[in-house]
């Protein structure tokens, strides 16, 4: 008799499918619960997990198979995973909970993950099994094609979709004559309309690829090997190789035989469970809410959710993906998303430049982007897709829509929005000095798929973020047709899967009053969080609970903890508050004396009309503050900075309003306001606008009858002219609208989102509705602002009196 084992055994997870979706799910699972399962993986290909996106570079001879491996055999071993390659699972026994392979292996499971992917569809015509007829789906197909193309001669590709065109390109690069046969009137009809298709066809023909369009295949000709193709109209074409790329079909046979419900794919719910709750499925084999997906980003989203449930967190739901394809076929730029054909209740905005080979078409419904296609110049693709996903009202910039965001004034990179056209040495990320070449190399060699991964691996766009669009373009052009911009939901940071909004909602609903409490309640992966989430969560807590919420100094950036701006050499700068920029000889003398006494290395005016004492040691800060005897200017914070002003009626001969007085009132009314990002104001006394109010977060311009109020302007990284919010008569109204607008921004914008992108995201009309038209909601917003400000004290005065410790001095001085 065998002794009964009392050793608690680990749960067993069996994964059927060793491809990108299945392995991604395993990777996500290992991140969350590294020791929960004993994992066994079956894959019917002989390779470890490779990057299927790179089949075409391998076919075209630009890369070797080894370079496409994502998880080498060592990876499986390191994680204690049992891997069976070249082993096909023949049946699932749901009663005994085990799988059996064709070669007789048996593996019991507690949880089963199906990631069987999809197979190439083969046209049901006579002769489709002749040697020389191949599909284009895996490394074996590529190997066969490379072998056959070595013979030279002619190739016919049936199917003028994305894969078909890529194969045609690859075979052409290998020196074969290539003809693409397509049943529709133009190639890529799932991504392009007739006009775009014609442009594409012309460009491919210029590269030596021939097209036979509107042709239905009837039979493969040949006895021992393919020698031609006959069409339904009786015509024939000779060929040495025949590639079928007419589509893919989810591999559901195994699931079907096991009695799991299937339609086109294996049916799964929002937690990626099949009909049998012990069996999960992810990837191209699944059908979720009627949709199947072939792009990599949706598969990865599914993998993440499935892993979350396998890890017994049970928190996330998959709610489907919005996808776009941006493809690069033989150097041809192409992007399409959503409904690109248009029709009833839709409007089209188009631009066609046949000479340059540029075609752009955007489909609008009720002034919102519902789809579009871009050919020849796809620079605005990611932006357009963002507008589509966010449902942004584009009425304000419809006339320049097809020129893209750059037209509205882009950053220092304006005019360089064509990432694909740049040389390899071109600098993409100015902050971290990352070139295009090193980004592309990292995407290929490290197998990166998302913006986050590129940031982590190369640092590109990880600092100021102004090159994010360029990096997204490089991802798109390097990954080709498999790239689906960003996943729908962005996690706040790597410490959680929750989005900014979800964290915010939880703080409000569960009354979470400190960063520590929030991290614990929301199952943060690292109890200490990171440099991204700590300041964000601390801000959300202080905004939601201005009185009770704990302001955690260790969750503040150094500047906001030291109440001074850290400089490159570790010294600090001191900017005292000078309301409206109006000072006095006595105050100036005092500032000068303090600067002299402490040998302050530089005294300078800031961009916001204030005085800056630069090069101060941290130890000296409290004494300098005390001697200045002025409040903090908050020049260091995600907070109200200054209210810039012009002279106005008091002295200026053109002035029509007292802008200096209003600037002082605004600065006194809003000082000590923390915000998602820095907030700059300006007040100009006449339409000459000397205070530059139209590039400020909130700007006012005096006119004869009162004040025009502008919002969402920016003069920094990305210039944006402010939008006119409304016109009011009195200073009191200006103050109330300013408070209401900024309070709405504080409560709604994501941490580190300036007013300019926020206004664009939520739309000016939705702001007007709450801040201008509804007087009661305006009053309430302003009241909430006043309450929040009443909880804040001047940090310099607090430090001088000893109530606030900024740890100015070293902990100890150890003498020699």
């Amino acid at each position: 008799m065998n002794p009964v084992s009392v050793q608690p055994r680990k749960a067993r997870l069996v994964v059927v499918g060793n491809g990108m979706a299945g392995i991604r799910a395993v990777e996500e699972l290992l991140k969350m619960a590294p020791d929960l399962y004993e994992i066994t993986i079956f894959g019917d290909e002989p390779h470890p997990n490779y990057n299927r996106i790179l089949l075409t570079p391998v076919l075209a001879g630009e890369m070797a198979l080894e370079e496409t491996i994502l998880n080498p055999l060592d990876w499986y071993a390191e994680h204690g995973i049992t891997l069976h390659t070249g082993s096909r699972v023949a049946m699932i026994d749901r009663v005994k909970r085990r799988v059996v392979t064709e070669d007789g292996r048996v593996a019991p499971y507690d949880r089963l993950l199906l990631a069987t992917g999809a197979a190439a569809a083969i046209a049901p015509i006579p002769g489709n099994d002749l040697p020389g007829v191949v599909s284009y789906r895996d490394m074996a197909d590529v190997a066969a094609l490379i072998r056959d193309s070595g013979l030279g001669g002619e190739a016919v590709v049936i199917g003028g979709g994305l894969l078909g065109l890529e194969v045609a390109h690859g075979l052409r690069a290998r020196g074969m004559g290539v003809t693409v046969v397509h049943r529709r009137a133009w190639p890529l009809d799932k991504q392009l309309d007739a006009r775009g298709g014609a442009l594409l066809q012309r460009a491919m023909e210029a590269r030596g690829v021939r097209f036979l369009l509107g042709k239905e295949s009837a039979a493969v000709l040949g006895d021992t090997r393919v020698r031609g193709l006959r069409f339904t109209d009786g015509g024939e074409i000779p060929t040495d190789v025949l590639v079928m790329t007419i589509g893919i079909k989810p591999r559901i046979e195994l699931a079907q035989a096991a009695g799991l419900q299937c339609e086109t794919g294996i049916l799964v719910n929002d937690t990626l469970q099949t009909y049998d709750p012990r069996i999960y499925a992810v990837g191209e084999c699944v059908q979720h809410r009627g949709q199947t997906y072939g792009l990599v980003a949706p598969l990865f989203e599914q993998a993440k959710v499935a892993a979350n449930h396998l890890a017994e967190y049970g928190r996330m739901r998959y709610q489907g993906s919005v996808t776009s394809t941006k493809l690069k076929v033989t150097g041809i730029e192409l992007f399409s998303a959503g409904d690109f054909m248009g029709g009833d209740h839709c409007e089209e905005v188009t631009l066609l430049d046949g000479g340059q080979g540029v075609y752009k078409k955007v489909i609008l419904r009720e002034n919102r982007v519902v789809g579009g296609l871009l050919y020849g110049d796809t620079g605005i693709g990611p932006w357009l897709f963002q507008l589509m996903r966010d449902g942004t009202d584009v009425s304000a910039f419809r006339d320049t829509l097809v020129f893209g965001e750059t037209h509205l004034g882009d950053s220092g990179h304006a005019g360089e929005s064509q990432a694909a056209r740049l040389a390899d040495g071109a600098e993409i990320c100015g902050c971290n000095g990352v070139s295009k070449g090193s980004i592309v190399k990292a995407i290929r060699e490290q197998g990166l798929f998302t913006l986050e991964e590129v940031r982590k691996c190369t640092k590109a766009s990880a600092s100021c973020g102004s090159c994010t669009g360029l990096v997204e373009q490089l991802l798109a052009s390097t990954l080709g047709g498999f790239y689906d911009s960003t996943p729908k939901k962005k996690a706040l940071c790597g410490c959680t899967d929750l989005s900014h909004q979800e964290v915010r909602d939880a703080i409000l609903e569960e009354k979470l009053l400190s960063v520590r409490q929030a991290f614990a309640y929301l199952d943060w992966r690292h109890p200490g969080g990171c440099a991204t989430c700590r300041p964000a969560v601390n801000y959300y807590i202080r905004t939601a609970w201005p009185a009770e919420g704990v302001d955690d100094a260790q969750s503040r950036f150094i500047n906001e903890r030291a109440h001074a701006n850290i400089q490159r050499d570790g010294t600090y700068s001191v900017v005292p508050r000078i309301y409206g920029g109006v000072t006095s000889p006595a105050e100036l003398k005092r500032i000068a004396e303090v600067a002299e006494r402490h040998h302050v290395p530089m005294v300078k005016f800031t961009g916001g009309q204030r005085l800056d004492l630069l090069g101060v040691k941290k130890e000296d800060l409290p004494r300098i503050w005390a001697e200045l005897d002025m409040p903090s200017g908050h020049a260091y914070g995600k907070a109200l900075r200054t209210v810039k002003s012009c002279v106005g009626t008091e002295f200026c001969r053109f002035g029509v309003q007292d802008s200096t007085r209003l600037a002082i009132e605004l600065e006194r009314g809003l000082e000590r306001m923390w915000a998602p990002h820095k907030v700059k104001l300006a007040a100009s006394g006449c339409p000459r606008n000397c205070a530059e109010s139209t590039i400020k977060d909130f700007g006012v311009i005096g006119v004869d009858s009162g004040w025009e109020l502008y919002v969402g302007g920016n003069g920094g990284m990305k210039v944006r002219a402010a939008d006119l919010l409304c016109k009011v008569k009195t200073h009191e109204e200006v103050l109330e609208v300013a408070k209401a607008f900024l309070q709405m921004y504080r409560e709604d914008a994501q941490y580190l989102e300036r007013t300019a992108p926020w206004v664009e995201r939520v739309g000016l009309d939705s702001i007007k509705a709450v801040v201008v038209n509804d007087l009661e909601s305006r009053r309430q917003l302003a009241a909430r602002m006043d309450f929040a400000l009443s909880q804040e004290k001047d940090p310099w005065a607090e430090a001088i009196s000893g109530r606030l410790d900024i740890h100015a001095a070293p902990l100890r001085r150890i003498p020699a």
């Binding site: 982590k456 691996c457 190369t458 640092k459 990880a462 600092s463 690292h526 109890p527 200490g528 969080g529 990171c530 440099a531 700590r534 100094a553 260790q554 969750s555 950036f557 150094i558 903890r561 030291a562 850290i566 490159r568 050499d569 570790g570 740890h807 070293p810 902990l811 100890r812 001085r813 150890i814 003498p815 020699a816």
Partner: protein, 106 residues
């Protein structure tokens, strides 16, 4: 090795740091959520940022200047960055923090 008493662990803010002036320059003392204390030279290998002012989480400090992440156990910058920072031994007895300093090479 000379062991120097620095004071109570409570003088170092949790998830943050302080620094001490020594004959060998500034040394950052960083405290994580488990009340472990790490001591490293107070200069980020990137541009010399004061690590004592960074965010601490687990075994990582995030430099306040450009967000480099430094592994406090190994004293090495985490990928994709390269660089290292000298680490020093720390002992905690009865809530008192002790820093170990080697005699400086002559």
């Amino acid at each position: 090795m000379e062991w120097l008493a620095l004071g109570s662990i409570e003088e170092i803010p949790a998830l943050g740091g302080r620094y001490v002036e020594t004959p060998q320059g500034q040394i950052a003392l960083l405290r994580n959520e488990k009340d472990e204390i790490f001591a490293v030279r107070n200069r980020c290998p990137h541009r010399g940022g004061p690590l004592s002012e960074g965010f601490v989480s687990g075994h990582t400090v995030f430099c306040p200047l450009h967000n480099w992440q430094i592994d406090l156990e190994k004293g090495e910058a985490m990928a994709p960055d390269h660089g290292c920072v000298k680490t020093f031994p720390v002992r905690i007895e009865d809530q008192q923090v002790w820093l170990g300093l080697e005699e400086e090479a002559p």
